[in-house]
Symmetry: D2
Subunit: 492 residues, 4 copies
């Protein structure tokens, strides 16, 4: 899939490791989580007494250097990579949010999105807490800072003040949240009761870590232990890992888009290799929507695996048909008219010697706005492709996400506006087919229950929790003109 597509809002990491250089290890872990947020990064450490922090906009490799890592001393750390929309890209919105409380330093790194942020903001402000940013992460943090009984009166007394505070938070926060929380003496890993965003635990010789994805563990040489359970709190301190039930788990609703596009292929989610899942999606797509063709190509880099699966299943040879400029670096140069006509040429060039006179299957992982598939098809044809059959290794994206992925507003989703055949003619393909929702969910199912343990609301419109009307309205202005009869707002 070609940018701008869905963008994950954040990667989180936490580590407890006496005798370890925790700031450097966190740096390298964030480097491995860079794909979950490229617009800012931060690290907070604690030495058992005081916290130290550094945050800035930019790539992880730009934000940190030896000089600014040096003051980040201690044996605990949390880190964060952030994606944000233009305009709110202020330093003050970066994470981890770090404050001083009666019980010492508190820092929170958050992946996900709350749906009742407005209500929680108001509750905080009514208590007299002024808020300095527009993020739901500051809201989470200030809720933790308050005496727990402010938020929930009937919580069991707990020796550990922070466990009680986190339980209080979980009792009022609605939505997706995978957290790494730093306090004076412990890191807490927290996952919402639906387990919407991934979060995993690992160990290494001198300590333990928590991260959004297991690829961070491979990078720092830690050994994965297990995933956080929905609703679970895990304290990581000198006693190792201690598990607490934060709130009772609800029906599991892990974001299926993590498999489709967001996660790194070398991560393991729900004990399944993301790479392997994508390969299977390509195979299943071949079963559901085969094509008569000479070669199968993928849109690099994210759809290459699915294309290989498609090729594996059909026996049609896999080939490289498109080359991607491997040097990133955003440019804000506006193309002039001549260059604009080139369309996606800035990012992709076709390989005519591969494509010439061939019937081509082009596999993409997903289509969101649909404004790059067309130029890609044209590019393939200009390089000599006789036929271009587009196959998408996920269902049509028709509904916005409120749980941590920036999918664009609903009217910009091409599959919300157009039926599949219209999309096909819009992008100029000889044929177009998507993987079915059933097909996709069968591959990743983690239970027999409905939705098979996942949130696939962006495909189905069936959300795992009630989305408040105001939030819904913001992203779905043309609700009534929807071409899809499926009720787009359903709670399961």
């Amino acid at each position: 899939m070609i940018e701008p597509g869905p963008r994950e809002e954040c990667g989180v990491f936490g580590i407890y490791a006496p005798g370890h250089n925790v700031s450097k290890t966190t740096f390298f872990a964030l480097y491995a989580l860079q794909h979950r947020g490229q617009e800012g990064a931060g690290i907070v450490t604690c030495d058992g007494a005081r916290a130290a922090q550094h945050k800035n906009v930019g790539l992880v490799s730009q934000v940190f250097n030896e000089e600014n890592l040096k003051p980040l001393q201690g044996h605990l750390a949390v880190g964060h990579t952030r994606y944000s929309t233009t305009g709110s890209n202020h330093v003050r919105n970066l994470q981890p949010v770090c404050i001083e409380t009666m019980s010492g330093p508190l820092a929170v790194a958050h992946n996900g999105n709350l749906v009742n942020t407005t209500a929680l903001r108001n509750a905080l402000m009514e208590r007299g807490v002024g808020l300095s940013s527009s993020t739901d992460s500051e809201v989470l943090t200030q809720i933790l800072a308050a005496p727990p009984d402010v938020w929930s009166s009937n919580l069991p007394a707990e020796e550990d003040r922070w466990v009680t505070s986190i339980r209080a938070l979980m009792s009022v926060a609605e939505g997706a949240y995978s957290l790494a929380v730093l306090t004076r003496n412990a890191i807490y890993a927290v996952r919402d009761p639906r387990g919407i965003r991934p979060l995993s635990l690992a160990e290494f010789e001198t300590g333990w870590a928590v991260a959004s994805e297991t690829c961070a563990f491979s990078t720092i040489g830690a050994k994965p232990i297990r995933e956080m359970k929905p609703g679970e709190i895990v304290r990581i301190d000198k006693n190792g890992l201690t598990s607490f039930e934060g709130v009772p788990p609800k029906r599991k609703a892990l974001c299926v888009f993590e498999y489709v596009y967001l996660a790194r292929p070398d991560s393991v989610i729900e004990e399944k290799s993301v790479h392997g899942v994508r390969f299977e999606m390509g195979r299943r797509l071949a079963d559901e929507a085969p094509a008569e063709a000479d070669i199968v190509i993928g849109v690099p880099d994210s759809a290459t695996v699915a294309a290989q699966g498609f090729a594996d299943r059909t026996g049609i040879p896999f080939a490289d048909g498109l080359v991607k400029n491997r040097y990133i670096g955003r440019t804000f140069i506006e193309p002039d008219d001549h260059v604009r006509k080139m369309g996606v040429g800035l990012k992709y060039n076709p390989l005519p010697h591969v494509l010439k006179d061939k019937r081509v299957v082009m596999v993409d992982d997903s289509i969101v706005r649909g404004n790059t598939a067309g130029p890609l098809v044209a590019l393939l044809r200009s390089a000599g492709a006789k036929e271009v059959h587009v196959r998408v290794a996920s269902p049509p994206v028709r509904h916005p996400c409120f749980l941590g992925v920036d999918m664009a507003s609903q009217e910009k989703l091409i599959a919300y506006r157009l039926k599949v055949d219209r999309i096909r003619s819009h992008i100029g393909a000889d044929s177009l087919a998507y993987l079915s929702e059933d097909g996709m969910l069968d591959i990743v199912k983690s239970g027999d229950e409905d939705r098979r343990g996942h949130c696939s609301a962006c495909f189905s419109g069936v959300y795992p929790l009630t989305v408040p009307d105001d939030l819904f309205g913001e992203k779905t202005k043309q609700k009534l003109e929807a071409v899809w009869a499926t009720p787009s707002k359903v709670t399961i």
Copy 2:
């Protein structure tokens, strides 16, 4: 006086002016208040609904440009220039502090220093308010954000929520505070009940302004109205200026060091020209400690006026004897041994044709650490001065300040460690004399009361309020070895 000497912590400004470009006007006002803080600056504006802000480290002229001023829309603004010690010079400590509250945006620009910050921080944190900086200004702001009855139960009901909140704040905050507070629809000027830091009001064709010093008004073309009264709150909004009693005024204790060194000479404080006061101090110094000499010179730029007064009174001709490099720009280059021997040569060069074979009176405004007076005397002698008589237009500085001026810790104050004659031999002067405290206070007296309406604690050790022990201990480690019998901690 030569840096590093006492440094004022901050200049504040506020404006209400529909139809005016308030961010530009605030920029120019801060430019005029640059001498009150050169390490950071910030502006917050409000259009009646939303606040916009920009803050950064650096000089006012470096922090702002046309591009970042443009989004600062509205008809209300507050601004701030900040001095801070190295290490805590983070963006997050810059002012104005700006937060969102139930009653809309709230931004506070603060000049002064609280003495009960620790207690107030604890009170806030006990309520569950996490604090993101180490500044007392954030403390002030979060106190304002709370429902007023949290802080003080017996406040009169007031239509205007913010007046009540400010009263609550004033009932608990101890110390020096001159504030410019921005809310959705009004600016509030606030001054502590002792009037320790200056704060003045002005008007212009389309609105009103508040500033730390009147020099800001001249720069933006506003006409001074009057000073804020101790303990007063003034609301500035569409109804003009409305005065409220915040707390009953206490014995006036305006910082006398504002006259001695801190304020700009073109400012007017207590209806007295600062320039005129300094001239008088020079004259009085001549009465108290005349000298047989051929010329009178001042240490530029801050002591030139007092030197002129000294010359005026004695009839000894005033002359330029020292030239100061007029291009500032801090350098962090460490001088090598050769250059270090030059001492103050980097900043000052003597004028031999003026000094040669002359008996010279060198007037300085104050001596704090005393490590530059010696090199200056040597410089004058190297240029041919036959005798050097040092006259200081203020009393010996022997006590630290807890109310907003960074005076260095007590043991670094040369007049705390050494008697006057020892200082004289230390700096190599032929004679040394200071202006008496009585002499100084007579010139600036604003009442017949003790201390004549001013705080001169840095000279006398008599503080206008009780300084908590912990705070006192930090800055006065060698209390017992003090050579001065004067009790250094007395409340009046």
Copy 3:
């Protein structure tokens, strides 16, 4: 291959296109040539009278923005991307070199390396030309600036002064040079008589362009015409393309490493797709050194194609076994000991579900220093690979390059120090084999002559021209201890 490996020194581009925004087009072309140099970039334009330039260190996308492109007006432009070693990475070494001459502006973008730079520098300095950088490109430019008869007395008179100057330059410069030269009214493309570096011509509706690689043409929508002939000068101006013989061509010696690693796979060199050549190299490698294995993987991204060719030929399935962090951004953070043990883990993670219990063929494009192949083999084993057979799609690199590729000094080349079997055990592979030089050259041959029209000196030690002793000595300190009998310095 993993960095730091061979690094191409520079990509060049030139355009003549009235009515076109030549600076923007050059920007996008440089963006496509970013792989040929990531440490600096520059553009010079000319409007027929004056030149304008902008150069800086950084990626193309960092160096340019709308604001600094705007002043680059005109209908001619040349551009350059630069690779440089640390330390000499000064702005003054960036290209294009731009000077003013009697015949107007002159700007030169150079790819390649001269071997007689020292002699030419001396000749220039003896004439009294002071040189402001250490680059051979400034030398080239100042030679062009001189009256042509300074350098060569028997050149035919030519109407076009620049053609004569370029011929004079070509008569004295020894080595590799592909140039894009901007003058007041024309662009000149120039290629050394051996054609060591690639250089191609293209046209589009309003003009013509020259570029190091054809991938730049696809990106800007230009249509490739043909390659520059060795020794050729092509003037590009209002009359279109005019070809001149600069010097008589010598035996063709195009750098074979362009095919192996340097060029983008979507470029076409000598009418052969680079991608196709790499695929063939993988196939040939399979013929020469087959392996008993379950899967074939490539070291991403550069060796993936050869691995696919290997798989295609052997019938062993191709698979992804390694995932590369797709976000670049250099980091200067030194790994601590713990992280260092992870070795290549920062860049690569293995896919255990693919590798587990498998006999793996890992194809790399080349091995230069040999310090990353070992960690990669270990990484594969740690992920469960039963056997790891390393296959390299080019011969052992044993000799330094003097013609524009930074190969490291000879003693750092692992295949210079160790025989193949020792390398195998050094990297811990079950087997190791390289593609033969004959095999490689057969695939790319462009004639029946010796070396088949290419320079493969880094593999063979047989250089296409005499390398001066001083230059040779610099990069080959341990000449006498060489384990390879092949005379390492032979002229053909």
Copy 4:
């Protein structure tokens, strides 16, 4: 005088001092010469073999830090501070110009301006030397790089190649040039035959130095020896100072504006204190144009001394009437209409308590464009001044400078366009008088010859050398409409 007024183009410095940290000493010397150029700075050092350099735009304190000074090793150095007009403020125009020649490194720091730059550029370019900047300093440097006989065939043979080269340069360069030249083993100080720009020599324990002004010596603890003679070359090396006649001296023509405004008051020129000269100018002005008044004030900072002289002579008390914002830092914020009305208020505030009901003499050092004197007069009146008598301590500026001072083009000079009485009414003064040219020259005369040894062309239009027509035309478009009959272009 208020900016933008005349601006000096550059300060130069050179040092030879084995065992000394020459780069740091040069840094501090440039810091003292900051007033001669605030837009860029550079240092080049040499250790007897190689040169090292660092240059950038900005103030001296911004350009250098410990890190970039460290590589500047050696025992010789030259440094430069640069003023430049907007647009040509490129790094490539900064000085010292540093190149490599047959005789090793060569670096030139230049103060002054050549009048035959175009001819010299052409001569260089005809020889085939391409020029990379638009500065006359690069021209000087490349002329030095050539074999000396290129420029002058009849120079005496000299052991020291550089002396011959500098003589060759002096035989062709016309105009003002004070140079500090660094070569491998020696520094050369060079001054044009008219001595138009100042240049002085000094010694200290371990070596010798050359600087534009003696204030640099005081700052670094060096002892002034003497000024360079017009036409002199002084070599500074291990043998100390060796003097050579470069070209025969011509009639002395030191720029009188150095005394009036450009030089620092603590510098000594022609054995006269600049401060003392300015004081005398004030006294003489009082003789020539006394005024009935109550106080004398100066426009700070540059005219304060002349005002003191005026007061001293008339007996009218000197007073501070205007306060200048002492924090510089250019701002590029455009004032809005309201602020613009404030005029000079951003820089100056009046002191009403000094000015009220007073008849004021305001002394300025010079009036160039005349657009700030008016607002200042208005400012004084608004502060209560009853009468304002403007006295200018130099003659009317009516002619442009071609020798190193940026005076604005002729039609912008108010005294070129208007007679004195019209200027008076334009600025709203009660009276206006200038110091006479004779009066000025009498004070600074260094001989009995015409012009008394100085260039005062900006006042008289009588230039010390022939200004080429093209150069003249550029700055004097309205030649024929000149109200002044004095022929404005005369050679003496």
